[in-house]
Amino acid sequence: MDSIYAQRCAACHGFSGRGDGALAASLPVPVPDFRTTVEQNSTAQIRRIISKGKGLMPAFEPALRPSEITDMVQMVRFLSREGREIRWWERFDTLVVAHCSVPWELVLGYDEPADGGK
């Protein structure tokens, strides 16, 4: 999933999700910093933005499969919480793939915020 983030998000959002991607300076609008914006949104809202697009950001549905969009939502949350670069996650890629059936929240000890069914 990190390669999906690297290919489709990093140019604008940056490898650490701070809105400092190489293309960010060319955009007519500032790119949000995940550390301050992601926690204000529910998982469903983040999913909707990734799927349907927002502003200049493209809609990744139907180009990405639902499971890939789920991975993207998780990656955005990881980056916003950990403040770590995507490259840090690459070290755990094999482990992640090996344990892909285990919910991320269990692996990392996170609880998803309540969406209220949104």
């Binding site: 990093a10 604008c12 809609a59 990405l64």
Partner: protein
């Protein structure tokens, strides 16, 4: 006379080969740092007629736009980086064309990813950007029809993954006679420069 024609043909062939030397955008965030920001080239490339399908599912032939100056861009709706900038630039130009000249200008966006970009998806994309669809069409079609169009513009889109296609970040200005006069290549096109060239073309051929 014959020799002059020969030299002219030779010159035209060289020009066509050079004007769009590979500058394919590879969706590599690291490559952004070295990618051309914006390059404007004067060209002379006759456009062969083509017929594609617009965002409403209607057929649109390029020849039908004869007599108008055409701003033509390539891109696809799930493009994560450069295409949104190209569309935003075209949108900025569309909004700045003086009211009395709007009927003389037409905007075309041709997809480089027909697998994903159906008319319905293009329609949603166009609406999300707020494009005025009275003089802007977003075109798609069968891959074999699109390949002929891409070939005319020396474009060779390469699929990297589902919904991820490498292609040259390209906008063209085409005069009223259907000859492309300017090519803008790069990840950060300048609307003001496009608008100046567009105004020049409108004056030149009015």
């Amino acid at each position: 006379m014959k020799s002059a024609r020969l030299w002219l043909s030779f010159g035209a062939a060289i020009l066509c080969a050079v004007w769009l030397k590979p500058a394919v955008w590879g969706h590599d965030p690291e490559a952004v740092k070295t990618a051309p920001r914006f390059e404007r080239r004067e060209i002379e490339l006759p456009i062969r007629d083509f017929t594609l399908t617009d965002q409403n599912g209607r057929r649109l032939s390029f020849n039908r736009l004869s007599g108008r100056v055409v701003v033509l861009g390539f891109g696809y709706t799930s493009c994560p980086d450069v295409c949104p900038l190209l569309t935003a630039t075209m949108l900025s130009v569309q909004r700045r064309v003086p009211e009395n000249q709007r009927g003389s200008v037409y905007f075309l966006t041709i997809t480089t990813d027909p697998e994903i970009d159906t008319p319905a998806i293009l329609e949603t994309y166009a609406r999300r950007y707020g494009a005025d669809l009275s003089n802007w069409a977003f075109l798609t079609g069968p891959p074999e029809a699109l390949e002929k169009v891409w070939e005319n513009f020396r474009l060779r889109p390469t699929k990297k993954a589902r919904g991820l296609v490498d292609h040259t970040p390209l906008i063209l200005l085409i005069d009223r006679q259907g000859i492309a006069r300017f090519a803008y290549i790069g990840v950060s096109p300048q609307a003001q420069i496009l608008l100046q060239d567009l105004t020049g073309l409108l004056k030149r051929s009015s």
